[in-house]
Symmetry: C2
């Protein structure tokens, strides 16, 4: 039994549907415990059309200290946040929510910034770099913002859906930092390559970029987690690249979520 | 950390205000674990005026399997139950709620029946007995109903508030079982004596019944828990009475709640 579970335990529910496969209850609760906090992350299955009533109900409970938001609610939950970070506002996405002093909700989103942090932890140097990012979906968009925030000089975004890539570039153009452009999946001349697509989850997926174009000086990151070393990362390691994998990124997200939930974010 | 905590964990929140001092999160969760169930009881502080929004929100979450209700919500929570036990309807009080197959709430209340069970476990024989019950508040009312359900022939109810005692007798008159009357705190001729008042919590409380009137043949029960053996029970043991204490009653409540929540009730 959870050592510290009591009437004083603070709750941090994770809201999603389906919910049975999320790992946050175990991981975040272990993190709270390691930090000596009497807090627990519990799963709440919230069907898509029911978010409104659940958000209202949870807002009324003072010992609900924060919320984790997963699919299908990452976009709709943004509307319940009285305040949010700049990166969350840009995408209108939140994955973590905590209380403001007045009890209202404050939202943030660490998926991108944690990926970049994990890459830096493994030796990547995004400041001033030229970066190829594959994937302009939810993960890719968040990583693109975080890369520009980290000082990337030129960001080349590729997505099989060209419209989606173009829309992300348009969004990023308001950032006033490094240049972001749409481009082919060609890492030639890049300092970093990052895969933000699901390619690598299935055994017969094609590589997101041709292995023959990788060079030892390139840092290669891959968001795919839980499927061992992806073919992309295997190729990168064989060539001599430094790499960061999806598990390292997930671990970095957990740490940032814990800091945020406990008010140190 | 709770061994089985995961995305598949079923939630059984306890709703009350204040909530910091409740023991159900530890006790019920340990009980779920002992029965091999992936379920947890978590505290939710719910200020009195906020019950409506919280009940609605929790009703929308399929893995919330049931609720425990404590002060100040035991009366108001009754209104949210589509169905309830006869004893809950009689007092319009619920302390435990679980799902009906259609997702609506079913309420029950074990405070009285568990007290009587604990007394039977310690040797009391309510069937056909003459019983003096001290206290006609929430606990006393629940115990009175349970005693009559257990076959008590004559129930004498005493309360310092005579109106409250009279109202309880009126409520019980619809039961069509043993006779219930208002009377003095005199156990003479009784088979059982039960204290359902807080007397005995403070060191200088008077005894709820005069110790000189107790006889070895009387079974003496006391709902006061967590303050050691009360002066009433100390006197009863000294005289040679069989007794049941508040802790044994709380333990019986826990077992009944677990059976109920897990659908075996």
């Amino acid at each position: 039994m959870l050592e510290s579970l009591s009437g004083e335990t603070r709750l941090f529910p994770i809201l999603g549907d389906p919910i049975a496969f999320v790992k946050s209850p175990q991981r975040l609760t272990a993190g709270f415990e390691a930090r000596g906090k009497n807090a627990i992350c519990v799963p709440m299955q919230v069907p898509e059309a029911r978010l409104d009533g659940v958000m209202h109900g949870l807002s009324l409970i003072p010992n609900v200290g924060g919320l984790l938001i997963t699919m299908p609610h990452k976009f709709s939950a943004f509307a319940y946040c009285a305040t949010s970070s700049e990166r969350a506002r840009l995408l209108r996405v939140v994955s973590v929510i905590r209380r403001n002093p007045d009890g209202s909700w404050h939202g943030d989103m660490f998926d991108g910034v944690a990926c970049v942090q994990a890459q830096k932890d493994q030796g990547a140097q995004p400041d001033g770099a030229r970066v190829l990012l594959i994937g302009a979906g939810g993960a890719g968009s968040a990583i693109a913002i975080a890369l520009l925030e980290a000082g990337v000089r030129e960001l080349i975004v590729h997505d099989a859906d060209e419209d989606r890539a173009a829309k992300l570039i348009e969004l990023l153009s308001d950032r006033g930092r490094g240049r972001a452009i749409v481009g082919p999946p060609d890492p030639t001349g890049c300092d970093m390559v990052c895969n933000a697509t699901p390619l690598g989850m299935a055994a017969d997926d094609p590589l997101p970029v041709p292995a023959s174009l990788l060079r030892p000086s390139m840092f290669v990151g891959d968001v795919v987690a839980g499927h061992g070393a992806t073919p992309l990362l295997q190729a990168a390691v064989a060539i001599g690249c430094k790499t960061a994998n999806g598990v390292q990124m997930v671990e970095a997200v957990q740490e940032m979520m814990l800091d945020f939930m406990l008010g140190d974010g």
